[in-house]
Symmetry: C2
Amino acid sequence: MTAAANQSGRRPTTSRRLERAGIRDVAAAAGVSITTVSDALNGKGRLPDETRSRVREVAERLGYRPSAAARTLRTGRSGLIGLTVTTYGEEPFTFTEFAYFAEMARAATSAALGRGYALVVLPASSRHDVWGNIALDGTVVIDPPDQDPLVSELYRSGVPVVSDGKPGNCPVTAWVDNDHEAAVLGILDHLSEAGARRIGLLTGTSTDTYTRLSTEAYLGWCAKVGQEPVYEAYPAHDPAAGAVAADRLLARPDRPDAVYGLFDPNGTDLLAAARRYGLRVPDDLLLVCCSESDVYAATEPPITTLSLKPRKIGTTVVNLLIDAIEGVDSGTGVDIARLFPPRFRTAGTGPPPGTLMPTELIVRASSQRRSPRTTVSPPRPPGEV
Amino acid sequence: MTAAANQSGRRPTTSRRLERAGIRDVAAAAGVSITTVSDALNGKGRLPDETRSRVREVAERLGYRPSAAARTLRTGRSGLIGLTVTTYGEEPFTFTEFAYFAEMARAATSAALGRGYALVVLPASSRHDVWGNIALDGTVVIDPPDQDPLVSELYRSGVPVVSDGKPGNCPVTAWVDNDHEAAVLGILDHLSEAGARRIGLLTGTSTDTYTRLSTEAYLGWCAKVGQEPVYEAYPAHDPAAGAVAADRLLARPDRPDAVYGLFDPNGTDLLAAARRYGLRVPDDLLLVCCSESDVYAATEPPITTLSLKPRKIGTTVVNLLIDAIEGVDSGTGVDIARLFPPRFRTAGTGPPPGTLMPTELIVRASSQRRSPRTTVSPPRPPGEV
DNA sequence: CACTCGTGGAGAAACGTATCTCCAAAGGCT
DNA sequence: AGCCTTTGGAGATACGTTTCTCCACGAGTG
């Protein structure tokens, strides 16, 4: 069979070896033109079904696989989406360090594949070495810090960028975030209702939006209800520092009787610190932390957690990005406004390119005093979809 | 500046908009040929440093970024490596379900980036839709089942494939695996030494190498020491089934006094089951499970775990793959033998394309009887590097 | 009979790079 | 002076698609 394809080559260009079958070989073997093969395989031209199926059959027989590189070069689309996480220090990779990232990445991958795109995991720190060598149709950025140069450059060069986490000063095509303020206020109210008089916060030193908004919400709440803020901040990327900070928080003279920890490991750290100081949870100390891990369902006692719904976020981010990619008129690349598909701009005032997603408070024993009071319904932030 | 580049275009091909600067624009602006630009930027030709730096400067000024698609088409290398996990049912994505995968993927990503490659996460199940649309230089396959059609096709089409887990019948370029037999034997000996008389196994129903080799090692050991095998198997991708199987194992009339669980969640499941039956760990029941999770350091009691060293595996797999990629003579694609770089074949008998990596047993309270005997040094499997 | 019109398909121009081949000029040597 | 070698660089081709343009032809229509 391959012999037929070989001998029918019109021009023996150079000395062509029998490498992989190209579209030319298929065309020759089927006795049609290249155009017809392309159209038949992509369902594009006006061809009778008989020609179409015949070409398809020949292609199958020759084991023809279109060259992704050539297609990308021609069409300008690679079907590849970059995924990067920027925040938390210069560590090579914080990925999957927290369950949040793992979950989010998984959901994003699934959503992308469902629409025919694949995800490429890229480091935010690395130089253009890698970024420049890959044809990306768009990029998802997790938690970009203010003034992220990477995001700016991508955006400037016409690559759509959607961020998980409201960006500070970087221009992005769109962003998705939780309503962190509502979430924190909900938790503080929940703890107050459970009897807390002085609520402490375990927070981070980074400048990312999550940390900033959450802390601000806490401080605002304190100001409103007239409580003196009681918090400790530490570099969130350092697990050891988290344990130390938890200990410090409970060692203070103005020790809180309830604590909310912003990061995943804070729950176990606080629990350990509480044991060290002989504090019973929840009797002496109410505990809530933000985590996607289900280990908190099995701790002693089980700990109330705030879920940021990473799966929903990952899915939404990817869908927004692909919408933007497929809505772009591949023409005047630089024009920023063009990056938005029509439906983003039709509305009179134009909705902002941001979407707030609800969080979910999973109430467990650690945030409920053992009062005979029955169940406490978990507060939901406004804007629930 | 861009105006100069525009007006110096020799042929105004069509009506060229000022899209992105191409290599032609740089050449025109610098007053040299395309060849010179390419050579200058890639450090390839024989050019005086002065020309080189001048071209580089002009390129920088124009914000020139080479087209990855064109480069890939021309060179045949994309710098992209596929990463896929095959095993465990038809679920959309088992990725990061177990900490092993997450760790392994993270290490693989890092290693690849370190050598200038990026990883694309792909599903093993999906049709050629996605696989065919991406130019892959090679693929890492985690735990391929026997006769994996995907692996066969990749291999046949000339894409190097390296698998994590010794493949059954698929042809691969190379593979890396733990010495599962040695690991299991080491654990069984460890448990025996701690006083176990009847050791049970919690295993899976899949046909992947890990499950098969581990189970066979267990059965062989039983035959050797004359113990009746006591085990339960369940579909490893279903966490609920794991809890049920753990319960079943401890409910048996010939209840074991020590159990090794092959999968990550088995530790907590077995612990829970033991509590249900009033068994104290380690007094009434010795426990070991295979897991990369550090939650077992904090359980009550802490549980001895076997680590498969996913980071080391991920790194090794990627490095082997890239070695194969870069050693390939891009010529007679089909020839299988050529896929191996020279150093794999020079040795007389030729070492097999497989590498066994050591595991590590992390001994904790759950596998040590409270005897006054002091510390038990953890047994290491042979072949430790 | 001249004409439009729809059908089926071929030709050729990109897409943007890397690289092979070849050439001109300037020494250095006998 | 003639020849060889090195330096610096230009030209052209190929990588394998997609797609725009255009053509031939048979059938209906006035």
